[in-house]
């Protein structure tokens, strides 16, 4: 679908993101509930979500705070879990980098898994979009998810006291992440990256301070990049070699 106005791009982003409310809603609720159980009051929990707006980092910090972890290690671990948003930021830069600084600053706050995943697929498949349309689409993807996250946190913190720990809600978190991964695996190289990361992540949990996550992630990324090159070369070998040399890297 081609956009005629930036406004339609915003609404399209919002519509595309609507299903993610079913993901971020339960996540936000869960954060509110677990924050309450950790002893945070409702205002603390909401301030946490408003200021940080990064689910997995928030969960990590909350978990480590309760385990009497030294405060600097809590901070470094949660930021390490959140390192991926720096990589999201880098991969959005070719598409959004020409927007005004204040827009980029607002966009930076809103870089999360959902907005990144939706936007990068959109920008890749529709290269004719203008920068304002892309920015509008990006903000649109957060139009529901960001307020949803705050409202869910608030609700979770309010009702949290009623939910017994025996429900084992913790396991909903990996399930929600897993549901997101499957549809992202569009090429053989994606599969290689994913399974390398999984295989490395298990022994890497022995590393201190959550560093294993970063190591496994980097291993997966390198494996994916190498696999992409390998599949490309094999494809080029089958096709006309001169034609293959001129071709741009497919993504």
């Amino acid at each position: 679908m081609a956009f005629t106005t930036t406004k339609s791009a915003f609404w399209k982003g919002m519509r595309d993101s609507a299903p993610f409310l079913l993901v971020s809603g339960p996540f936000g609720l869960l954060f509110g509930v677990l924050a309450g159980e950790a002893g945070l009051n409702v205002a603390d929990a909401l301030a946490f979500s408003l200021a940080v707006f990064a689910g997995s980092a928030q969960f990590t910090a909350l978990q480590l705070l309760q385990e009497n972890t030294p405060i600097m290690i809590v901070l470094i671990s949660a930021l390490a879990v959140n390192l991926r948003v720096a990589m999201y930021s880098a991969s959005l830069t070719p598409y959004l980098g020409d927007a005004p600084l204040w827009q980029r600053a607002c966009a930076a706050y809103l870089v999360v898994d959902q907005s990144y995943a939706l936007s990068v697929v959109k920008f890749e498949t529709e290269p004719e979009m203008t920068v304002p349309q892309r920015m509008a689409y990006f903000f649109g993807t957060n139009g529901l998810v960001a307020p949803g996250w705050m409202i869910a946190t608030l609700t979770g913190a309010l009702v949290g006291a009623q939910i017994p720990a025996s429900w084992g809600l913790d396991f909903v978190l990996p399930l929600a992440f897993l549901a997101m991964i499957g549809p992202m695996l569009r090429t053989p190289a994606h599969l290689v990256a994913c399974f390398t990361a999984i295989v490395v992540s298990l022994p890497a949990t022995l590393m201190p301070y959550n560093l294993g996550l970063i190591v496994a992630g980097l291993a997966g990324m390198m494996a994916g990049a190498q696999a992409e090159l390998w599949f490309e070369r094999r494809l080029a070998g089958q096709a006309d070699p001169q034609q293959a040399n001129k071709q741009e890297t497919p993504s």
């Binding site: 990589m87 880098a90 830069t93 978190l173 549901a179 399974f195 999984i198 997966g220 494996a223 994916g224």
Partner: protein, 110 residues
């Protein structure tokens, strides 16, 4: 009653807020529209499909709900969620399967 004081909590909240914003602003803000090197982009394409599985795998193999003991039912529900997502290419169907499986786990455990 907990392992942290209000001061420590706010230190973490403020530190995380500044740190997370810094991470997110690092490239969008400072690189602007300058082109990124091809080798970097080739690696960045695999960020999400590497980091998220790396985050999830230990949580599935050693679920916190069982106190970290490996559990076949948990593995099965996780595998179901993943496979449905991969085959249907649809986050919602995957999540629905996962939540159904989770409810089954909950029912079996009760």
């Amino acid at each position: 009653m907990n392992g942290f004081t209000p001061g420590e909590l706010w230190f973490v909240i403020i530190g995380l807020a500044l740190g997370s914003f810094g991470l997110r602003f690092a490239f969008i803000g400072f690189m602007g529209g300058r082109p990124m090197p091809e080798w970097l982009m080739r690696h960045l394409r695999y960020t999400a499909v590497a980091i998220i599985p790396a985050l999830v795998a230990p949580l599935v193999v050693w679920p916190s709900t069982t106190g970290g003991a490996p559990s076949l039912p948990h593995l099965a529900v996780a595998a179901l969620t993943f496979v449905v997502g991969y085959l249907t290419r649809n986050v919602l169907w995957a999540l629905l399967s996962g939540v159904s499986g989770f409810l089954l786990l909950f029912y079996l455990a009760a």
